[in-house]
């Protein structure tokens, strides 16, 4: 079960006071969300394991830089994002995002996205998580990341902007375009 913000602060304070078990508890609490996030970003188990390990190692190394009172989950996801982006850059997997301008607009996507609605409440009864996974995989990593962080990990746009290191308006714009692209993909899949 994911621990609350206050609980994270408490665990960090205990760790900094010398209780090493507190860091183990932090790893256990955040492992699944971080692993899921990274897996959906990079798409294969082997690399996800490496990136997740690296993320927690970096968190352990730099935990003294964590500002008390700020959100540990956001801080940890920022590390996971940067580690994953470094990995994707090495793999040169961010080609799609090269079509993006400074405002987060993607010329390629704008010409291919269907502007139909997301599945409505009625069709959600027949919701198939596998279809959504399939559609998400086809989204560019940056769009996928914004949607997952906001809707799946329940982070605010402010927090998402901090994690991906982009201005708030850019993230909001990416979010809109990501939804458009997702609608297009789901409609294309007859969902």
């Amino acid at each position: 079960m994911e621990k609350s913000h206050d609980n994270d602060d408490q665990l960090i304070a205990e760790y900094l006071a010398g209780d090493e078990d507190a860091f183990t508890a932090l790893v256990k609490n955040h492992l699944t969300p971080v692993y899921s996030f990274v897996y959906r970003l990079v798409g294969d188990a082997r690399n996800t394991e490496d990136i997740t390990q690296e993320t927690f190692l970096k968190a352990w190394k730099h935990i003294r830089r964590f500002r008390p009172g700020s959100n540990f989950k956001t801080w940890l996801f920022t590390i996971a994002h940067r580690t994953a982006v470094d990995f994707l850059r090495k793999k040169k997997d961010l080609v799609f995002s090269d079509f993006e301008n400074d405002k987060g607009e993607n010329a390629l996507l704008a010409t291919t996205a269907d502007s139909g609605p997301l599945p409505d409440e009625k069709s959600m009864d027949a919701f198939d998580a596998a279809k959504l996974e399939e559609a998400l995989v086809q989204l560019p990593p940056l769009y996928r990341e914004v949607l997952l962080l906001h809707y799946h990990n329940h982070l605010t746009f402010d927090a998402v902007a901090g994690i991906v290191g982009k201005p708030l308006n850019t993230v909001k714009s990416q979010h809109r375009r990501a939804l458009l692209a997702l609608r297009g993909l789901l409609n294309h899949m007859n969902f």
């Binding site: 699944t32 969300p33 390990q53 190394k61 997301l118 409440e121 959600m124 998580a129 959504l132 939804l179």
Partner: protein, 139 residues
């Protein structure tokens, strides 16, 4: 409203369970890095401890010789031979002693002593971390 619908839509996405051994691997990796860092500190501070120990006697001798030359050692011996006079004129005594003390040599000696004590403390702390303790494990 649309935001709520989207949230519900994504709520169906399951968390992907990490492999069973991943948590243990992460903790083992951290443990390895912690021990490696402790061994590096141990090597560096052991070298500092040995060098500062070797430098301790020459720096003390240098400081003492300089103190004898400047007369500071005579003033210091007054503390034992004529302590009542020293107590009576303690302000003048301190000023005279401060003027005659070989500050440069005394600083070198005290710096060496400080380096020795600090490095011994770090060595003692890191011997335990590097070879004896295992903190990050799954319990």
């Amino acid at each position: 409203m649309q935001e709520e619908l989207n949230e519900r839509f994504f709520a169906g996405l399951p968390e992907i369970a990490p492999p069973a051994g991943l948590c243990g691997s992460i903790l083992a990796l951290i443990e390895r890095k912690r021990k490696r860092a402790a061994r590096i500190r141990l090597a560096v501070f052991s070298a500092v401890a040995v060098s500062s120990f070797a430098a301790l006697i020459p720096t003390f001798r240098g400081a003492w010789e300089e103190a004898s030359r400047s007369g500071a050692s005579h003033y210091l011996s007054l503390l034992f031979s004529d302590s009542s006079t020293v107590l009576l004129y303690w302000r003048e005594f301190i000023l005279t002693l401060a003027e005659s003390l070989p500050v440069f040599y005394a600083s070198i000696f005290l710096g060496t002593l400080f380096a020795l004590l600090t490095s011994l403390r770090v060595v003692a702390k890191n011997i335990h971390t590097a070879f004896l303790s295992t903190r990050y494990t799954l319990r």
